[in-house]
Amino acid sequence: MTDARAAAKAAAARIAACEAKGTHAFLAWSEQALLAEAERLAANTAAAAGPLAGEAVAVKDVIAEATFPTTCGSKILEGWRSPFEATAIRRLRQAGAMVAGKTNCDEFAMGSSTEYSSYGPTRNPVDPSRVPGGSSGGSAAAVAASAVTMALGSETGGSVRHPAAFCGVVGIKPTYGRVSRYGLVAFGSSLDQIGTLGRDVASAARLLAVISGRDERDATTLDRDPLPLPGPAPASLSGTVVGVPREYFPDGLHAGIRAASDRALARLRDLGAEVREVSLPHTKYAVPTYYIVAPAEASSNLARYDGVRYGLRADGGVADVRPLYRATRGRGFGAEVRRRILLGTYVLSAGYYDAYYRQAQRVREAIRADFARVFASGVHALFTPTTPTPAFRLGENLADPLAMYLSDVYVCTANLAWVPALSLPIGRDQGLPVGGQLIGPMEGEPAIVRIAQALERALDRTAEVR
């Protein structure tokens, strides 16, 4: 690695350029902080020889890091400087990376457009009148705008792949348990994973490998060593079977999305892959299942924001603690978060738990079983669109929460089933990026990365970022 300082300065310049355009990908960053990272790196010979040496990595603001606040896009954590750091942050620094800054996101990662951030939306660098997707919109935009080559995001219901598709970059959600959640502010604990974004598959995969592996501070991590670093793109996919689930290609699918998907499938065939139609019959229940399980867990995970030990505390001479809770939380949470907390509280409450939460877990098992069955039948990976539409305009889906939820239809299945999934740019529709998704079996990251690398090379260009 040549010069950490130079790398830091260059990164700062790129971030400044990105933000100067009004992208608002970042909530916190500074040249000074980057230079401090460079100094730290230069003094650490092991890190300086690491696989991410000199890389400036943007970090979604739901991941605890010591230099900058961790706001989660919320007022309730405005200015909150975490006194501990996420395992993923420690690992990326150990590998030689520098934290470039904290990126914008939907509040507490709840959303599909980054419009629910309490600090203002992020704009899609490809078309600033449009959303970057969500909830990791800031990280996706930062990569798309070439501010950074790679970024950390988080997934609960597709929040890395969704903005990756909208912004024309690569996004990977690992197998549940692949990456430690220690330091990832919890939203839906049985769904959450830190994911990676990159300008190409190799970047995203390399970052993922570095942060992956068992962690004694997270009891849900797989008992596995870190993933290997990605190798070169395979020249052929002969012997690879790619399944195409019919439920992801309904008759009314957006024409531009369909066209790009068809093109990608053709490329896969050209590479020698066998393309086979399969069925995941419980797909239509994925969004409703997700919108019971995730809010339920969120309602519990967000109970800690009560103004007692940290974060916002409503002032105004409240003399009793419960009214203080209500005022703090009422003021500190935005409308979408509030909606989900109440929804989650409802589906867990006495009399409703069995019909909603317990039933949702059963359906979730069925969704998982669908995937297991298909992968057991000889399919190595599934190919689907990532999103039902390209990036929509700012404000377009704000009137109806349900409309916003439906944007997650193709991505939330992998979170429910715990399987790894990757989105890569597969083309454009009227100038707007279109993402294609590869879904693998449990622990199938190497397989989907391999296929994605081959496909990426076969398609003309990947992240068309300038």
Partner: protein, 100 residues
């Protein structure tokens, strides 16, 4: 599946979340709609989902190794006095109300 105003008030109370009138009206409507939508899960009656969780928790040895805080509690607590976190006094004590 209608969510009533009373339901909204009750869950807001359980969730310790202040909800003003306008928000409550909107929530009644939005939550009803969402719950109507998710209710379709009741259709799934097949014996799917009986696999259960096959994982086993990895336990931690009983050895002192706390993740140290880079800042002490008094540096981030909204209220702190004499080594203790402070909040306005629990009013229900004075009212003799139930404690969990």
């Amino acid at each position: 599946m209608g969510v009533t105003r009373k339901d909204v008030e009750k869950i807001a109370q359980l969730a310790e979340l202040a909800v003003d009138d306008a928000a409550a009206r909107e929530l009644e409507q939005q939550l009803s709609r969402i719950l109507d939508y998710v209710a379709q899960l009741a259709e799934v009656r097949d014996d799917a989902g009986t696999a259960g969780d096959a994982r086993a928790a990895r336990l931690r040895p009983d050895v002192l190794a706390p993740d140290p805080l880079s800042r002490a509690p008094q540096q981030f607590a909204p209220g702190f006095k004499d080594g203790l976190f402070t909040v306005p006094r629990l009013g229900e004590l004075d009212r003799g109300d139930d404690v969990p």
